[in-house]
């Protein structure tokens, strides 16, 4: 167990640690430390026993969880019962899209070990974005980058498909051409 997991059982539990944690998450990385402090202060620390659900597939999510300690399975419902498709562990974030818009949870997240998480609710997050627009701009930047990366990914996939379909064609020459978007990480 790491230095943060110790925190909540002793008196050392501190939002300063949580802020350091938030900084490691891309969505929050660019946000001013003061605001992150406020975000951490107003968010609740929650603990989950093994087997407890953090989120349930199909429900409308209203909060995101940042895993401070522990591990959780990401499960999806299939015809043959739940299927574990992935896992989240320390510093991972669950349901970050849910605090930006109303979407249904696409998977169930179940604690495998004891999980310690910081719960950020949508209301709270929006309330902060309302109050500090520059936070919104920062989020926008992150999302734009994510969209760009996605587009690129899709185009790469499509291109590769085209290349495979019509080998030797000159289509594959310039994947970035005409886009003008910044390269990920260039900022």
């Amino acid at each position: 167990m790491g230095e943060l997991s110790q925190a909540d059982t002793t008196l050392g539990a501190s939002i300063a640690d949580e802020v350091r944690l938030l900084k490691r998450i891309p969505l929050f990385a660019g946000i001013d430390t003061k605001k992150l402090k406020l975000l951490a202060f107003t968010s609740e620390r929650q603990r989950f026993e093994p087997g407890d659900l953090l989120v349930r597939e199909g429900e409308v999510g209203t909060s995101a969880f940042i895993i401070i300690d522990g591990e959780a399975d990401v499960l999806i419902e299939t015809a043959h019962g739940p299927l574990c498709v992935s896992e989240v562990r320390r510093y991972g974030i669950v349901g970050d899209i849910a605090i930006l818009c109303d979407v249904r949870r696409t998977a169930t997240v179940r604690a495998r070990t004891k999980v310690d998480a910081l719960c950020i609710t949508k209301d709270l997050f929006f309330s902060l974005v309302h109050e500090f627009p520059e936070m919104g701009i920062e989020i926008m930047r992150v999302l734009a980058r994510r969209v760009d990366r996605m587009t690129r990914l899709v185009r790469d996939t499509v291109d590769r498909h085209d290349v495979e379909a019509a080998a030797g064609s000159d289509h594959a020459a310039a994947p970035d051409a005409g886009d003008g978007a910044p390269t990920p990480g260039a900022h």
Partner: protein, 886 residues
């Protein structure tokens, strides 16, 4: 009620009025003497002493005579003062008593108003009538007779004196009286009209204010405050105009009166002077007449004031009576014999109920409602349902047709009998601002039980008994009932129970039936008890505390509820609580003043904590400023999360700046107190500011020990310490059992498990009855607002069930319950009323299946009636309804 204020006065206070008059007249010779003696002292004793003066045949010298007269004067002063004191007290008592009688009669009228009257009369109108409008009448009543007799008598004496001096001058003195007697009432009439208007306008204002209070949510909802402001402004303006005109007229009347009074001396000077010049009247007589006339002014003015007061009182009384008129018709006819129970059936024949507009809402209803079976009423559409229910419950009388129980006219049962044997529960529950228990047992509160309490009390507390006797006598003198409301009014016999224990069992069963038991247990957990008054209960709760602790340990849940342990810092409680290791009682150690409390500061100093807390306070202040300073004040985050108010931030900023510039040592005491106060408010596990480390926690524990050890006896009542072996009266029952704090951030599963364990312990230790008892003490707030709508409705049902009526009328009485609890409550109610009279205006036609007979209502008429299956088989209205819902 008497039609005029004078009839009211004569009927209820004639003897007292005569007494006041007699006392007033009796005081007259002494008053005269006290006016006469100074003249004697000056004339006979000082100016020209006659050496031959004797007192009671004994000769006296000059000094002796002076002293005698002076002491006589002193005696008269004392006697006059005493007379005044006695008369005024007597008058005050008569006035207050009459006022009390008037208020009580008006209130009694409200109690017998027909329900329909309340559709037209708002409480906003009635309340000021009884509270403020009648108030001035009390003052007038005591003066009603004595004042005009006394002042009129005085006036007559002076007039007689003038007539004796000279009949012509006498005529001159009264020459203008006929004119005054005509003009003054004439002017007064207009003032009276204005007075009436004023009363009306003020009543409307109180009605509007009442509406504003009840409708405040709608006002905010639609932002209509400006219209309300304008409306009230106009109404206040109307009152201003009316009052201003009253003033103008009133003072004009005074002016005219004064002018006429001054006109009379003109006649004296001209006519009297002429008579003196012609030698028909002596100069001395004219001077005497003039002096007498001057004295006339005072009683005349008093009479005028009295006249105005009388007119005012007359109008007020008329207007009050008018508002309450027409209620006498609502009195029931002579009651039939009071039967022990209503048996057989309630038979309605051709019952019709109309509205004010004349349209019938219930028309020609004839049916039989057996008092030993269940009847469902299904409304297939249209109004009339509520009126129908009220007629069956005898809350309103039908306009046409009649009802009878076993051949006895339903209207002839006394309201006492109906109150005991019939209960109606409508969709809107009305609760009173009292405990839940009082609200439920309210239906049994019909008669005081003196034999059960007064004897015991008399033996225990003779002074209180004497006080009660005096109060009862006074109540009777004012025509009020002498019963003591503080007494025990709940009569188990009214519920058909032999004693309180049986009533209690019934109550518990009723709570289960209406589905209120769980709520009451929860109230009990949140309530407090006084361990001194109930040591046995406290002891059992302590046992429960230990049992729960064992169970928590066995289930591995002891981390979830962090116990209050003397040697451990509890990060889930405030720093203040950690130092006190208890709960403040009163304001001495209240959280917001604790930092300034001298004893606390001494303890902090002893534990070497002061500077550390100041340091920690600086960190907290810095963090709070950093986080919240840029937030707009009043932002919801402030309200929800900050333990520092927005208005405190600038002060904290100044402290931080000062500390940054000159160091912590430059901070004065107020600044240090503010910083310590910040840290005291901190709940380390929740706020996670990282300022309370292990070392600081250790010092806090040290302070805790100092605090308890050195606590001066004078302050020992200001804190209830946490002691695992003692019940803490300052915290709730649940906190006493848990004896710790839920850890922040714990899983919901874990807290659910803790709650389950708590419930288990409560059951195992048989604490439920105790919790029900504590929970029933829960105060429901004004109109029951501290309960949910469903809880209110359940309480209203419980209130009706507890008295075990022969006929229970339920008019959509469970409509606000959720469908799950509805189902349970419906089952329980049907079972509870098995073999008893039940008329249920059901919400869902399918439910009618469970009843012995069904009546289908449409537009206030019975369209079909009979057994459920038969009606369905006939394919009538009920069948259609069932079709529609399926």
């Amino acid at each position: 009620m008497e039609p005029t204020v004078f009839r009211f006065i004569l009927r209820h206070s004639l003897a007292q009025q005569v007494q006041i008059l007699a006392l007033t007249l009796a005081s007259f010779p002494f008053l005269y003497l006290s006016l006469d003696l100074p003249k004697r002292i000056v004339n006979d004793a000082l100016a020209a002493f006659d050496p031959a003066t004797t007192v009671a045949g004994v000769p006296v010298d000059r000094v002796g005579y002076l002293m005698l007269l002076s002491f006589l004067f002193l005696l008269m002063v004392v006697i006059n003062g005493l007379f005044k004191y006695v008369i005024n007290t007597f008058k005050g008592r008569v006035g207050e008593r009459m006022l009390r009688r008037l208020r009580y009669s008006l209130y009694e009228q409200i109690l017998i108003f027909p329900l329909a009257k309340f559709k037209k009369t708002s409480s906003g109108e009635i309340i000021p009538i009884i509270t403020s409008e009648v108030e001035p009448l009390g003052g007038f009543i005591a003066d009603a007779i004595a004042q005009p007799v006394f002042q009129g008598g005085t006036l007559c004496v002076y007039l007689a004196f003038i007539f004796i001096q000279d009949p012509v001058l006498g005529l001159a003195a009264v020459a203008l009286y006929p004119f005054q007697g005509w003009i003054i009432p004439h002017l007064q009439r207009k003032i009276n009209q204005l007075g009436k208007q004023r009363v009306q306008a003020v009543r409307q204002i109180s009605e509007r204010i009442g509406e504003t209070v009840t409708g405040i949510q709608e006002i905010h909802n639609h932002g209509t405050a400006p219209w309300h402001r304008a409306d009230m402004s106009n109404r206040f303006g109307d009152v201003f105009d009316i009052r201003f005109e009253i003033y103008q007229r009133k003072f004009f009347m005074k002016f005219l009166n004064n002018f006429i009074n001054q006109l009379t001396p003109f006649f004296f000077y001209s006519i009297g002077g002429y008579l003196v010049l012609t030698g028909d009247l002596s100069f001395g007589a004219l001077v005497a007449v003039l002096a007498a006339y001057k004295d006339l002014a005072s009683p005349w003015r008093e009479l005028l004031i009295w006249y105005q007061q009388k007119e005012d009182a007359r109008i007020k009384y008329d207007q009050v009576i008018e508002q309450f008129r027409g209620t006498e018709a609502g009195r029931p006819p002579a009651p039939a014999d009071a039967p022990d129970r209503l048996t057989g059936a309630l038979v309605l024949s051709h019952v019709g109920v109309g509205e004010d507009s004349g349209t019938r809402v219930v028309e020609d209803v004839s049916c039989t409602l057996p008092l030993d079976r269940h009847t469902a009423v299904v409304n297939a559409g249209g109004g009339g349902q509520d009126e129908f229910a009220l007629v069956i419950g005898r809350l309103i009388a039908p306009d046409h047709g009649g009802l009878a129980v076993d051949g006895v006219d339903y209207a002839r049962f006394s309201s006492e009998t109906i109150g005991r044997r019939v209960a109606t529960v409508g969709p809107g529950a009305v609760l009173f601002a009292a405990s839940l228990l009082d609200n439920i047992l309210y239906s049994l509160r019909r008669r005081p039980a003196p034999e059960r309490t007064s004897d015991a009390l008399a033996a225990r507390d003779p002074a209180a008994t004497a006080r009660r006797r005096r109060r009862a006598a006074e109540a009777l003198a004012a025509g009020n009932p002498p019963d003591d409301a503080e007494q025990d009014w709940v009569d188990p016999a009214a519920a058909g129970c032999t004693d309180r224990a049986a009533l209690w069992q019934r109550l518990v069963a009723v709570l289960e039936t209406v589905g209120l038991a769980e709520d009451v247990v929860r109230f009990g957990l949140a309530g407090t008890i006084d361990p001194a008054a109930r040591p046995e209960v406290a002891r059992r709760l302590l046992d429960a505390r230990h049992a729960l602790a064992e169970r928590l340990a066995a289930e591995g849940l002891e981390e979830i509820v962090v116990p209050f342990a003397g040697a451990r810092f509890n990060p889930n409680a405030t720093v203040a609580e950690n130092i006190l290791f208890g709960t403040p009682v009163g304001s001495t150690f209240a959280l917001d003043r604790m930092a300034a409390e001298p004893y606390v500061r001494r303890v902090l100093d002893q534990a070497g904590l002061t500077d550390r807390l100041v340091g920690a306070g600086l960190t907290v202040a810095e963090t709070m400023l950093e986080m919240f300073a840029e937030l707009s004040p009043g932002h919801e985050l402030f309200e929800r999360f900050s333990f520092v108010g927005a208005d405190e931030l600038p002060g904290l900023k100044a402290i931080l700046d000062q500390a940054a510039q000159g160091g912590t040592n430059t901070l004065g005491d107020p600044e240090r107190t503010a910083l310590i106060g910040l840290v005291l408010r901190l709940i380390p596990a929740r706020h996670r500011l990282g300022v309370v480390d292990d070392a600081l926690a250790e010092r806090i524990l040290q302070a805790r020990r100092c605090f308890a050890r050195d606590l001066p006896p004078a302050l020992s009542g200001a804190v209830a310490f946490f002691d695992p072996a003692r019940y803490n009266a300052a915290i709730s029952v649940q906190d006493n059992i848990l004896f710790g704090r839920f850890a922040y951030g714990e899983t919901q599963t874990a807290s659910r498990r803790v709650r389950a364990l708590l419930a288990e312990v409560i059951d195992r230790m048989a604490l439920r009855p105790t919790l029900v008892e504590v929970g029933l003490d829960h105060q429901v707030g004004v109109g029951g607002q501290r309960l949910s709508a469903a809880q209110r409705q359940k309480a209203a049902l419980a209130r009706a069930l507890i008295k075990d009526p022969d006929l229970l009328v339920l008019n959509e009485a469970t409509a606000v319950l959720d469908s799950e609890s509805q189902a349970a409550v419906h089952e329980a109610l049907l079972a509870w009323r098995a073999g008893r009279g039940l008329v249920w205006f059901v919400h869902r036609p399918t439910f009618a299946r469970r009843f012995d007979q069904v009546i289908v209502l449409r537009h206030g008429r019975v369209v079909e009636a009979g057994g459920f299956d038969a009606l369905v088989a006939n394919g009538g209205v009920l069948a259609e309804l069932l079709e529609a819902v399926s």
